[in-house]
Every structure is written in structure tokens, then in C-alpha cells.
């Protein structure tokens, strides 16, 4: 049981071939493209959702920040679909790997910060010191603000990894507990119910993506455009 618990997080390889590449590319199969005005139901649904999300999310930044719309919408689609596919039985979720999430978080965060530094140098540097601090506290506050800036990409990546991994682990554990308790009757019903509720809550992994992109967006907004 102990070894099996973490076995689902091993990078899938088959005969030495990286099967994980195929698994990462699989969600792209589920989002067809079309250049028609009136599409089939799948594409229409996806377009409607995408318009909804992009209108709520991209109305906040100014036109300079809105150039990131394509990138952010691809990001939310990718993370959302990957997390939701990971809820299917026996599947592998690439976003449980910290390496992948760091690979997503660091470039995006660095791009936002560097854009801010290039275009509005004074304002970006001014972020390191909040308004109205008493003079003796200034050196310490600058250090703290610097640390809080550099911890942002790490926080983004670790937040996503930890949430998804913890959710999957809990499902495994509680499912295993239910099976083991099957022979000892009354508690089984209660635990199965807990599993059901937990899975539903976990379906809000989509909310997780919301958190990811939204946090990224807020940080981007602050850095670029004040």
C-alpha cells in the first residue's frame, strides 16, 4: 500500500520511451479548431467558455497587458484540461510534477517582471518600498519585499503541484480505506460518501487553474502597468 501510494506519480515510460510526451500532448486532441462561423457542439461550447473566461479576465489590464491574452488563455485551457483529465481513473497528471510547474511559472513571471523593469523602471523599483514607512525600517523592508518578489514563481509552482498531488493522494487513500472497510459494514457507507464529496470538491481543480491564472494576472498587472 505504501509503495502503491506514490506509484501513480512516477513519470510514465514504456520500454524506455517517454510516454509522458504523449500524455502531455493528449489534451490538445480534445480542442479542435474550426474556421467556420457555425460549428459543431463541441467547438461551440469551448468557444463560449473561452469567451466568457477571456472577457472576465482580460478586462482588468490595460491594452499593453491585454497583449498577453493568447498566452493566458492557452495557459488556463492547458492547466484546466490537464487537471480534469487527471481525475479519470488510472491516468497520469503532468501537473503533479514540480519540474513542469516550475517550467511554466518561472518564464511567465520573469517575463512580466522584466517587462515592468524595461518599460517603467522607476515604478517597478518603487514597489520594493511601500509608502509611508518610517526611515529606520527601510533597509529591512527592502529586503523583505525583494524576497517576496522572488518567491512568487516558486509559490505559483508549488501551489499548483501541492494542491493537485494532495488531492490525488487523498482520493487514493480514502478509496483504499473504503475497500478495506468493506468487510466491516457500517462505516463503509459513511466513507464512501466522504469520497464522493471529496471528488466533487476536487472537480474544482478548475478553480485551481482560476487561481493560477488569476494570480499570475494580478502579478502581471501590477508589474507592468501600475
Amino acid at each position: 500500500m505504501n509503495e502503491n501510494l506514490f506509484a501513480s506519480f512516477i513519470t510514465p515510460m514504456m520500454f524506455g520511451l517517454p510516454l509522458v510526451t504523449l500524455i502531455v500532448l493528449f489534451p490538445s486532441l480534445l480542442f479542435p479548431t474550426s474556421s467556420r462561423l457555425v460549428n459543431n457542439r463541441l467547438i461551440s461550447l469551448q468557444q463560449w467558455m473561452l469567451q466568457l473566461v477571456s472577457k472576465t479576465m482580460m478586462s482588468i489590464p490595460n491594452p499593453k497587458g491585454q497583449t498577453w491574452a493568447l498566452m493566458l488563455m492557452s495557459l488556463i485551457l492547458f492547466i484546466g484540461s490537464t487537471n480534469l483529465l487527471g481525475l479519470l481513473p488510472h491516468s497520469f497528471t503532468p501537473t503533479t510534477q514540480l519540474s513542469m510547474n516550475l517550467g511554466m511559472a518561472i518564464p511567465l513571471w520573469a517575463g512580466a517582471v522584466i517587462t515592468g523593469f524595461r518599460n517603467k523602471t522607476k515604478a517597478s523599483l518603487a514597489h520594493f518600498l511601500p509608502q509611508g514607512t518610517p526611515t529606520p525600517l527601510i533597509p529591512m523592508l527592502v529586503i523583505i519585499e525583494t524576497i517576496s518578489l522572488f518567491i512568487q514563481p516558486v509559490a505559483l509552482a508549488v501551489r499548483l503541484t501541492a494542491n493537485i498531488t494532495a488531492g490525488h493522494l487523498l482520493i487514493h487513500l480514502i478509496g483504499g480505506a473504503t475497500l478495506a472497510l468493506m468487510s466491516i459494514n457500517t462505516t463503509t457507507a459513511l466513507i464512501t460518501f466522504i469520497i464522493l464529496i471529496l471528488l466533487t470538491v476536487l472537480e474544482f481543480a478548475v478553480a485551481m487553474i482560476q487561481a493560477y491564472v488569476f494570480t499570475l494576472l494580478v502579478s502581471l498587472y501590477l508589474h507592468d502597468n501600475t
Binding site: N4, A7, S8, P12, M14, L19, F26, L29, L30, P32, N40, R41, L42, L85, L88, P89, H90, S91, F92, L179
Partner: protein, 93 residues
């Protein structure tokens, strides 16, 4: 006379699988295009065949997407069968 004879014999390469006779099967398989672009073309054709039959229709149902997800679950099960073998309900493992 000679034209009709040539017209009635379809070259082996262009026959579809269900039209190939059993004795011709090995040579048919060997004649398939196994270059990377050939294999990519085969995947593309298969994808569009499924897509146009089940998804790209006027009143597509949930079945089009569900079949893909079911196949995904099944393939993942096959992939992790080796580890899952040990989790069967047995008295002695």
C-alpha cells in the same frame, strides 16, 4: 479488350484492407508507407475519420467525447497493469 482487362484488376497498393485477399496480406502490409510522413498521414486520416463521424455532426452527443475518454482510461490501465497486478483482492499476495 485489353483496356477492360487492365481496368478490372486494381493494383494491390490501392486496395483497402477489407478488399485484400488473405494470401495477399503480407505483401500488402509490406507495401504500406512506413515513412514518418506516411505514419503521420495515417494518424491524421484516422483522427479525421473519427472526428467527422462522431463530433463534427449537427447534433453531436456526449458519446463522441466519452468514447475518447474511455479509450484514454483503458490505455492508461494497460500502461499501469504491471503495478496494478499486485492490488488484487487476494488472501496472500
Amino acid at each position: 479488350s485489353q483496356d477492360s482487362k487492365m481496368a478490372s484488376v486494381v493494383p494491390l497498393k490501392e486496395k483497402k484492407l477489407l478488399e485484400v485477399k488473405l494470401g495477399e496480406l503480407p505483401s500488402w502490409i509490406l507495401m504500406r508507407d512506413f515513412t514518418p510522413s506516411g505514419i503521420a498521414g495515417a494518424f491524421q486520416r484516422g483522427y479525421y475519420r473519427y472526428y467527422n463521424k462522431y463530433v463534427n455532426v449537427k447534433k453531436g452527443s456526449i458519446a463522441g467525447l466519452s468514447m475518447v475518454l474511455a479509450a484514454y482510461v483503458f490505455l492508461n490501465y494497460c500502461r499501469s497493469y504491471k503495478e496494478l497486478k499486485h492490488e488484487r483482492l487476494r488472501k496472500y499476495h
